[in-house]
């Protein structure tokens, strides 16, 4: 999927859009949009009347012909807007569809190892297929055996391969992606037609688009306004009759069509489709339009600390020896223990030792050293060399190892009771240093050599640059941020303070997350979160906006209502912005559309009643040339304004993270006041053109 933003009116899109616009004139399609359906009804009606007049030779054919032409243009422009919005998605869907149809699959017969070759589309849920390097994965599934690097560029647009392996949180594979190395067995989890790619295609094409709650409410408002104007216009003939005259039907139609909210009616569905499209371009797939709207309403963001708020890895920032040990000695031991440690934390210790004390990397083999890897049981790693052993690890784990006692819960000092005074003092000192580090947001890593405490390495979470400012932005938008972390409360509090989040949840279990979401929701708040693991699934399902990482498990992807193809949790912030933009665009264009009516009244009413009461010329504040040119100008403006606003509808109103009050002030000024003023100017200009061209 290409990420470049294609020009709004590129020829490749415009051609099909124009064709699509004509096809959409089908009343069965139009009825989904009440306002434009009404326009179509009156357009058909006046066209029939016009044809009758052509035959009988009555009426002002040039004038009514032009009005009717512009009525049809109004309809076409509305359909072009929608077709353009859909067209942008269609182009993306096309390339996706190609990947789907061409795949074949090697299905395991029975328990294997024999396979049979079948078309990818004939696979059923539960089938197990074998995929080797160079082949396309035929459908969505879960890796049940093996590990492979997979190119997911077809879905994510990211060409760097990703690792997919059985078990764990990276087992989900997507149909249409390519295995680059090794071979994997995949159990199919999606039936043909409901795979991820199928859903993406349906989404970007807008085929399965259902009206969102807010759209439905807006449609009710627009239908109501249309009815109000039916009353306003349908009663005019009797009023005119009382005044001793008659108003031609075509003029009544012109007034009616200009008054009803055609601008927003025409652009409403385009705005919705474009909003989804913006997300897709951003490599996020929303499973429903409802989710996008909900994103705009989010009050609370749950953000995982690691990867979102901090850089993924902790880094060593200081060596803190106990009394009687020099920093250099501690650094040397820590560096030795970390030489073979390939974790980012381990490497950062080596880097720090070199930077701070000039301790160079040593060759492990030359030292005749044995590396002791980290295990979940020992919670330590280290190295044995020259009969000496160095250990580093969680403070309590190291203390337990040194004292030969099992780890005491909470590090109780009972275990140390039989120990020499010096060792006891050192252990107490280590604990004190560790707590100090933890309080400052670091992770303490104790180091011991041959049963002697040396000190503590301070591993720090590095908060991402600029994240503090982002959270300040969110706060101005009225969104509360909550950091989720497995750290202890002390560390969490320090990082929360450094990053500037509003709240944090420390030592968080999946249950805690779910409980937090429920708590927020009980207060009436909408919650957004992202997650990837199977144990995130309940929380993802509970959240109002649940963004699943594409790298995550099938369970997580099913539970969320959005999938981030880039698996970048920071995006949650942008997703909220896109949701807000969608709602704002709708509101802005509705306001604009309704505000336009003032000028349209002033254009048409004097023109309409001039024959009855010449005094009403005083209401012609725009000084339009003639009644006919005034009416024609109003209807031309009404049609052209749709075209003029298509780019805005597709691009969305610019969203800036400022408070609601200043946003509203700005938008009311631009779209409310602007909506009142702009048509006065534009109708006058059109009138000048119409008069110059002798159209009326």
């Amino acid at each position: 999927m290409s990420r470049q933003t294609s020009s709004l009116f590129s020829a490749a899109l415009l051609g099909p859009a124009l064709l699509g616009a004509v096809a959409k004139l089908d009343p069965r399609a139009m009825i989904r949009n009440p306002v434009m359906f009404v326009v179509e009804v009156v357009a058909v009606l006046t066209t029939v009347l016009f044809l009758r007049d052509v035959v009988t030779g009555g009426g002002d054919l040039l004038f009514s012909g032009q009005i009717i032409l512009w009525l049809w243009f109004t309809l076409l422009f509305a359909n072009v807007a929608e077709a353009l919005a859909e067209g942008r998605g269609k182009a993306q869907a096309e390339s996706l569809r190609r990947t789907r149809t061409e795949t074949t699959a090697r299905r395991l017969v029975g328990a294997g190892p024999a396979t049979e070759t079948v078309p990818g589309t004939s696979l059923k849920v539960g089938d197990v297929v074998l995929v080797e390097a160079g082949e396309l994965i035929p459908s969505d599934g879960e890796v049940v055996e093996g590990v492979a690097s997979v190119n997911e560029a077809a879905i994510t647009g990211e060409s760097a391969p990703v690792i997919r392996e059985s078990g764990g949180d990276r087992s989900a594979v997507t149909g249409g992606t390519q295995v680059l190395s090794d071979r994997i067995k995949v159990r199919i989890t999606a039936a043909a037609g409901s795979t991820f790619v199928d859903r993406m295609i349906a989404l970007v094409e807008g085929a399965e688009r259902q009206k969102t709650p807010n759209e439905i409410a807006l449609n009710i408002l627009l239908a109501g306004l249309t009815l109000v104007f039916v009353f306003a216009v349908a009663t005019i003939p009797s009023f005119a009759a009382y005044a001793g005259g008659a108003i031609p039907v075509i003029v009544l139609v012109a007034l009616f069509v200009t008054l009803i909210p055609t601008t927003i009616g025409a652009l409403l569905s385009a705005i919705g489709i474009a909003g989804m499209d913006r997300l897709v371009r951003f490599n996020v797939l929303a499973m429903s339009g409802r989710a996008v709207e909900a994103a705009g309403d989010v009050d609370t963001l749950l953000l995982d600390k690691t990867g979102t708020i901090t850089l993924g890895n902790r880094q060593a920032t200081a060596f803190r020896p106990v009394r009687g040990v020099s920093e250099g000695e501690l650094a040397d031991a820590a560096q030795l223990a970390s030489l073979a440690d390939e974790t980012p934390e381990g490497r950062s210790i080596v880097v720090l030792a070199k930077e701070r004390y000039g301790i160079r990397a040593r060759d492990m083999a030359g030292l005749d050293a044995t590396f002791v890897p980290f295990t979940a049981q020992s919670r330590m790693s280290g190295v044995d060399l020259d009969g000496s052993s160095i250990r580093k690890g969680a403070v309590e784990a190291v203390i337990a190892a040194v004292t030969g006692q099992p780890m005491a819960a909470g590090g109780g000092s009972a275990a140390l009771a039989h120990w020499p005074e010096a060792e006891r003092a050192a252990a107490t000192e280590i604990r004190a240093i560790a707590e100090e580090i933890a309080r400052a947001g670091g992770t303490p890593l104790a180091v011991a050599r041959d049963g002697r405490f040396l000190g503590v390495v301070d591993l720090k979470d590095i908060v991402k640059g600029g994240i503090r400012e982002r959270f300040a932005e969110l706060r101005r938008m009225g969104i509360r941020t909550v950091m989720i972390t497995g750290d202890n409360p002390l560390t969490a509090a320090a990082i929360a303070a450094e990053a500037g989040v509003d709240d944090f949840l420390a030592q968080a279990t999946p249950e805690d997350k779910l409980a937090l979401i429920r708590r927020e929701q009980a207060k009436g708040k909408l919650v957004a979160m992202c997650g990837d693991g199977t144990n995130d699934a309940p929380a993802l399902a509970q959240a109002d906006v649940g963004v699943a990482m594409n790298t995550g498990t099938v369970a997580a992807r099913e539970a969320g209502n959005m999938v981030d193809l880039d698996s970048d949790p920071t995006k949650l912030i942008e997703i909220v912005g896109i949701g807000k933009q969608l709602l704002m665009t709708r509101g802005a264009l509705t306001t604009f559309s309704i505000a336009n009516d003032v000028a349209k009244y002033f254009a048409i009413i004097p023109a309409m009643f001039l024959g009855l009461y010449p005094q009403l010329q005083a209401l012609n504040v725009m000084g339009l040339a003639s009644p006919q040119s005034a009416i024609l100008s109003a209807i031309i403006f009404n049609a052209l304004v749709i075209v003029a606003l298509i780019p805005l509808a597709l691009r969305g109103v610019a969203y800036r993270p400022v408070g609601a009050a200043s946003l509203l002030r700005r938008n009311l000024l631009v779209y409310g006041l602007g909506g009142v003023v702009v048509p006065f100017v534009a109708i006058k200009l059109i009138d000048l053109a119409v008069t110059a061209l002798h159209l009326a």
Binding site: F229, S238, G587, A660, N667
Partner: protein, 571 residues
């Protein structure tokens, strides 16, 4: 325009504003069921009433129950009043020996008083017995007002409550509104008016000998009591045909001032009740500010137009203000102010003939009513009408802050929008639809006394006044015909209940929702920005619909007058 006139207007606004807080506090206590200084006296009466009616005061109703109780109550009131009018000749307290009221007029009058409209197709002193006036009309003046206040209180509860199905009890709200609010205020006001010279007697009339020696029959009756509630309850139905222009209904400048204050007092204070009940008084002030802006704009235009006088006469060199149809004891400022107040609120009492206002001076009362009488408005009706506009305004503009629109922590969704639009749609349908009918049917065309745009205005005004439940008459229209009586009655009933029921539906739907906590991302609804937005939405949504009709009525009349053109009668 004189400084004296402006001082009167300013003084009026100051007095009304000063009343908002104390009255609002008192009403909040009354409708929250808390103790007030009148409780020792009234609480036993209240309990007795519930016992007699078999009402459990703690039994709350859902919106459907509330609306059902209201409709049943009003329907029974309608039947009772209709019967009373038809049989008044057979009933006591009929010293002037008035005959039975004709069926169409009785229907129209019953609809009129039950809907708090008080449109009067009849002359009170020549048609109705004292019993009809006191038991029939004055009774409905109280309960129709109380029913309006109750609806507003139910809507306020919809905003103030969360996650509940009930809106309170219609019976309790009705009883409290009448007992704690209307009766005490009316008692005080009636006594004040008696002091000012308004009669309060059960005698029918007395004969006087004029200076020329002729004998004149002067009608009197229990006037003060009816005048008090007609103003406080924004009913507007006068005891006499001339309404508040009659010296026995409005004898002095002071009585005039008090009556004007009484029209706005409860309606304005209800905005404060709203603010208090939703827990943020600023919300109430914002609503009142929007009303105030629209009101002052109306006053300025009308006063200016009346002070400038008729453009036709000005064109003939006759300068000076327009005193036609005005009482000299009130003058231009107090008459113009009264005209705007009575149509802004759905009172409909008049102290000058609106038919004789200048074209633009008469335009404002028309517009006031066409906006749905949301400028202070009828007691209760003004607030719930304005809140209906608030729902629409918030829905449209609220989206512009990038959230699903919410007001006071309540999300405004499809159901609220649908109901608000139903309420808003009803008025143009009634006002424009019936005017369109009357301007083409012979039965309708027989009505207006004037030709040309002014005759059109007379018809438009009648249906506007009826549908908006105002009840003021432009005059000039012979409305006591079966056609007008029937169509106006329909307009009044629709204008009342097709607004009230959707409003209660909104209240029910809102009460069931959670209240979302406000944040920096929430649309602020207590500042000038919101006030401006609300005024804009009221004018564009409520007002623009009537542009064509207004253009053909008062606007063209004014423009023609400025050009020296008049329209011959019977043309």
């Amino acid at each position: 325009m004189t400084s004296n006139g402006w001082i009167q207007i300013a003084l009026y606004c100051a007095v009304v504003l000063a009343l908002v807080k104390p009255l609002g506090l008192y009403m909040t206590r009354v409708f929250s069921g808390e103790r007030t200084f009148l409780s020792p006296l009234l609480a036993p009466v209240e309990r007795g009433l519930y016992r007699a009616a078999g009402i459990d005061a703690r039994q709350e109703q859902t919106w459907l129950g509330y609306a059902g109780a209201m409709v049943v109550f009003n329907l029974l009131g309608f039947v009772l009043l209709y019967a009373l009018l038809r049989w008044q000749a057979l009933l006591p307290l009929n010293p002037a020996g008035q005959a039975a009221v004709a069926p169409d007029l009785a229907f129209n009058t019953a609809a009129s008083f039950v809907t708090n409209t008080n449109w009067q197709s009849y002359g009170g002193e020549t048609t109705l017995s004292h019993l009809s006036q006191m038991v029939g009309l004055t009774h409905q003046n109280f309960v129709s007002a109380a029913s309006g206040i109750a609806t507003a209180v139910a809507l306020i509860r919809g905003f103030a409550r969360a996650s509940t199905r009930t809106l309170g009890s219609f019976w309790v709200d009705m009883t409290r509104a009448t007992l704690y609010l209307l009766l005490p205020l009316c008692l005080v006001m009636a006594l004040f008016l008696v002091w000012q010279g308004i009669p309060q007697t059960l005698a029918g009339s007395f004969d006087a000998t004029t200076l020329e020696g002729a004998r004149q029959t002067i009608a009197v009756g229990p006037v003060a009591s009816q005048v008090a509630v007609k103003m406080l309850g924004t009913n507007g139905g006068g005891f006499f045909n001339a309404n508040a222009a009659h010296p026995f209904e409005n004898p002095t400048a002071l009585s005039n001032f008090l009556q004007m204050v009484a029209i706005f007092a409860i309606g304005a204070a209800l905005t404060n009740v709203f603010g208090r009940m939703v827990g943020d008084e600023r919300q109430g002030w914002a609503i009142l500010a929007a009303m105030g802006v629209l009101f002052l704009a109306g006053v300025v235009v009308t006063y200016w137009a009346e002070a400038a006088g008729s453009p036709v006469l000005n064109g003939l060199g006759l300068t000076g203000g327009n005193m036609e149809g005005k009482e000299v004891r009130f003058g231009i400022a107090a008459s113009a102010l009264f005209a705007v107040i009575t149509t802004a609120a759905s009172c409909g009492a008049v102290n000058a003939m609106h038919d004789s206002l200048t074209a633009l001076g008469g335009l404002i009362p028309l517009v006031n009513m066409q906006l749905g009488e949301v400028v202070i408005g009828g007691v209760g009706a003004g607030l719930y009408g304005m809140l209906t506009f608030v729902v629409v305004a918030i829905f449209v503009a609220g989206l512009m802050v990038g959230r699903t629109p919410e007001y006071l922590g309540k999300k405004i969704e499809a159901r609220e929008v649908k109901m608000a639009m139903l309420g808003i749609l009803c008025l143009p349908l009634m006002m424009l639809g019936f005017t369109a009918l009357a301007t083409v049917l012979p039965a309708g065309l027989a009505g207006p006394a004037n030709a040309g745009p002014h005759g059109f205005s007379e018809i438009l005004y009648a249906y506007t006044s009826a549908a908006a439940n105002n009840g003021s008459a432009f005059g000039g229209l012979s409305a006591n015909t079966p056609f007008y009586n029937a169509t106006l009655a329909v307009a009044m009933l629709a204008g009342r209940f097709f607004v009230k029921i959707p409003v209660l539906a909104i209240a029910g739907s809102l009460a069931a929702k959670k209240t979302l906590p406000a944040s920096a991302g929430t649309f602020p609804t207590h500042g000038g920005l919101f006030v401006g937005l609300l005024v804009g939405v009221v004018l564009i949504l409520g007002g623009l619909t009537f542009f064509p009709a207004l253009a053909l009525g008062p606007v063209v009349e004014h423009l023609a007058g400025a050009a020296g053109q008049t329209f011959a009668t019977g043309g």
